[in-house]
C-alpha cells in the first residue's frame, strides 16, 4: 500500500482468537501497518465516524477495513451499508472476511459496495495461507487519499 505506514487497518472481528491469528499472519506477510481491532459493529461505526468512545479523537488519515459479517450489535451488512452511504467513509476500501460462502450473501455484499469478498477457510492451514496471500495483495493495493 502506498505510504505503508500511513494506512491503518481496521479489523472488525468478534472472535478474539481469529483476530489475533489474522494479525499474526498479516505480520508474517510483512504487513507492518497499524492494526486496530474492534469486536462489534457498533464499535466499528463509532470508530469510523468518531462517535461514542472515539468521540473527540482524531482518526487515521487513510484506512482499510477488514470486515467480518457475523458481528454482535450491528452486523457486517449494516456497517457496510452505513460506510457506503456516508460521504465521509464511502471511498474506504472494504474487504469482507467471513466464514459463509453462500453465493447470495456474496452477491448481497458486492451489491452493497464491498470491494473484495474473501471466505475464511475453515481449515486452519488454508486460513493461514489465505491471510498471507491477503497480506501480499494488500502490499500492492493503492488506497485513495483522504
Amino acid at each position: 500500500m502506498n505510504s505503508v505506514q500511513e494506512v491503518a487497518i481496521l479489523m472488525v472481528e468478534d472472535d478474539a482468537g481469529h483476530a489475533r491469528l489474522i494479525e499474526k499472519n498479516l505480520r508474517r506477510s510483512k504487513i507492518t501497518n497499524h492494526i486496530i481491532t474492534v469486536g462489534d459493529g457498533q464499535q466499528a461505526v463509532d470508530y469510523l465516524f468518531r462517535e461514542g468512545q472515539y468521540a473527540g479523537t482524531l482518526g487515521p488519515s487513510n484506512l482499510l477495513v477488514l470486515l467480518d459479517l457475523n458481528l454482535p450489535v450491528f452486523d457486517g451488512y449494516q456497517v457496510l451499508r452505513r460506510m457506503k452511504e456516508d460521504e465521509r467513509t464511502r471511498r474506504i476500501p472494504v474487504i469482507i472476511l467471513t466464514t459463509t460462502d453462500d453465493p447470495r450473501e456474496v452477491a448481497r455484499c458486492y451489491d452493497l459496495g464491498c470491494n473484495v469478498y474473501i471466505t475464511k477457510p475453515v481449515d486452519y492451514d488454508r486460513f493461514c495461507e489465505a491471510i498471507r496471500k491477503l497480506g501480499l495483495f494488500l502490499s500492492v493495493v493503492t488506497i485513495p487519499k483522504e
Binding site: 472472535d15 482468537g17 481469529h18 491469528l21 459463509t100 475453515v122 486452519y124 493461514c128
Partner: protein, 417 residues
C-alpha cells in the same frame, strides 16, 4: 278401525240382501205358482241369492246355498198344487253343482287374493327393512368418510410439521457444524503458534543445557517432550473433531441433495470403483471377483458412494491370517435388485452387529482409520432408493454386506427432499 266397522256393515248389508232375495224369490214363486198358476221362469229367481252367497262366503256360502236349496225344495212340497218332478230334482242337483263350483272357484280366488296381499305386504315390509338398512349403511359410510377426512387432515398437518421439523434440524445441523468450525481454527492456529513459540524457546535453552546439572537437564528435556506430546494430542483431537463436524455437515446436506434416477451399468460402476481402490487391492494382494451385474435405475453418485463405501471397508477389514478375497454378486428380487459384497476378512462380532450402522461407532478393533460415518451415510442413501441395507457376518470367516435398490423409482426423474 274404520275399515273394520265398514267391513262389518258390509257383511250385514250382504246378509240382509241375501235374506231379502230369498224372501223375494219365495214370495214370487208362491205368487206365480199358487196365485197365478203360471211362470216357471220366475222360479229361477232364487238362483240369485244362492250364487251370491257362494261368491261372497265361499264354503260357508255353499252351506247357505245348500240350506236355501233344501228350503226351496221343501217349500215346493208345501205347495200342494205343485208336484215335484224329477226335473226339479235335476234342477236342484245342477244348482248344487253350480253352487259348489262357484264356491270352490271363489275360494281359490279369495286365497290368491289373500296370498297376493300377503306377498305384497311382505314385500313392502322387506323393502322398508332394506331401505332402513341402506339408510343406516349410508349414514355409517358418511360418518366413516368424515372420520377418514379428519384423519387425512391430521396426517397432512403431521406431514407438514415433520417437514418443518426436518428443515429445522437440517438448518440446525448446518449452523451448528458451521459455528463449531470457527473455534477449531483457533485451536489449530494457536496450537501451531504454541509449537513455534516452543521452538523459539528450545534453541537458546538447548544451548544452555550443558551448563545445567543433571537433574535440571533431565527436567528441561522432559518438559520439552511433554510439550511435544501435549501438542500432538491437541492436534489429533482437533483433527478428529474436524472430521466429525464435516461428517455431520455432510449428513445435514444429504436432505438438500437432489437425486437423479437413470439407468446405470453396474459392471462399469463397480469396475471404476475398484480402480480407485486399486492401490489398496494390490498392496494387500486381494483377489476380487465380480459376477455379471444387472442394470439398475438409481442415482449414479449415490450408488458410487454406497459401493465405494462397502468395497473400501472390504479392503480395510482384512484378516491377516489369509489372503483377501472379495466377491461382488447380484440377484433380482420380485420388485428390487439385491447386491452382495462378500469378503473373507475379520468379520464382525455378534456384540458389535447393532453398532454397524450407528454413526460414529466403529468395530472393536480401532486400528483402522476412519470416522465411522461411511455406513450410516450409505444407509441413508439406500433408504432414499426405496431399499434397505444389512450385513451378515461370522468372526474369523468373513462378512457379507447386502443392499437393495427398488424397481419403483421414477425413471429419469429428479427427487427433491
Amino acid at each position: 278401525m274404520k275399515g273394520a266397522l265398514l267391513q262389518i256393515q258390509a257383511e250385514k248389508g250382504k246378509l240382509t240382501l241375501i235374506v231379502f232375495l230369498t224372501a223375494a224369490s219365495c214370495f214370487l214363486t208362491y205368487y206365480f205358482h199358487v196365485v197365478l198358476g203360471t211362470g216357471t221362469l220366475v222360479t229361477h229367481f232364487y238362483y240369485i241369492p244362492i250364487i251370491l252367497s257362494c261368491i261372497w262366503w265361499q264354503r260357508r256360502g255353499l252351506v247357505v246355498a245348500l240350506f236355501l236349496a233344501g228350503f226351496l225344495v221343501l217349500s215346493h212340497t208345501f205347495i200342494r198344487s205343485y208336484a215335484v218332478t224329477p226335473n226339479d230334482y235335476l234342477r236342484t242337483l245342477m244348482l248344487i253343482v253350480i253352487a259348489f263350483v262357484l264356491a270352490t272357484l271363489s275360494e281359490r280366488i279369495a286365497k290368491s287374493e289373500a296370498a297376493l296381499r300377503k306377498a305384497h305386504d311382505e314385500l313392502e315390509t322387506r323393502v322398508e327393512e332394506r331401505t332402513a338398512e341402506l339408510a343406516k349403511t349410508n349414514r355409517d359410510l358418511k360418518l366413516e368418510i368424515e372420520q377418514r377426512q379428519r384423519v387425512e387432515e391430521r396426517l397432512e398437518r403431521s406431514a407438514k410439521e415433520l417437514e418443518q421439523r426436518n428443515e429445522e434440524i437440517k438448518r440446525f445441523a448446518y449452523i451448528v457444524s458451521h459455528d463449531l468450525r470457527a473455534p477449531l481454527i483457533n485451536l489449530k492456529g494457536f496450537a501451531s503458534e504454541l509449537r513455534h513459540a516452543v521452538e523459539v524457546i528450545a534453541a537458546p535453552v538447548n544451548s544452555t543445557l550443558p551448563h545445567l546439572n543433571n537433574k535440571q537437564e533431565s527436567a528441561v528435556t522432559t518438559a520439552f517432550q511433554d510439550v511435544a506430546e501435549a501438542l500432538g494430542f491437541i492436534d489429533s483431537s482437533v483433527s478428529r473433531m474436524d472430521g466429525y463436524i464435516n461428517a455431520v455437515l455432510r449428513l445435514s446436506r444429504l436432505g438438500r441433495c437432489e437425486l437423479e434416477f437413470e439407468r446405470i451399468d453396474m459392471n462399469a460402476l463397480v469396475g471404476e470403483t475398484l480402480e480407485t481402490l486399486a492401490h489398496q487391492i494390490e498392496k494387500n494382494r486381494i483377489r476380487v471377483t465380480v459376477e455379471s451385474l444387472p442394470e439398475v435405475v438409481a442415482d449414479q453418485v449415490s450408488v458410487q458412494q454406497i459401493m465405494g463405501n462397502l468395497l473400501s471397508n472390504a479392503t480395510l477389514y482384512l484378516d491377516p491370517k489369509r489372503p483377501g478375497k472379495i466377491e461382488i454378486t447380484a440377484e433380482r428380487g420380485s420388485d428390487e435388485t439385491i447386491f452382495h459384497v462378500r469378503d473373507n476378512g475379520q468379520g464382525i462380532a455378534e456384540a458389535d452387529m447393532d453398532k454397524v450402522f450407528a454413526p460414529f461407532r466403529r468395530a472393536s478393533r480401532h486400528n483402522i482409520p476412519g470416522e465411522g460415518m461411511g455406513l450410516p451415510y450409505a444407509q441413508t442413501l439406500v433408504n432414499r432408493h426405496g431399499g434397505h441395507i444389512w450385513c451378515e457376518s461370522e468372526p474369523g470367516v468373513g462378512t457379507t454386506f447386502s443392499f437393495t435398490i427398488s424397481d419403483h423409482l421414477a425413471k429419469k426423474g429428479k427427487e427433491d427432499e
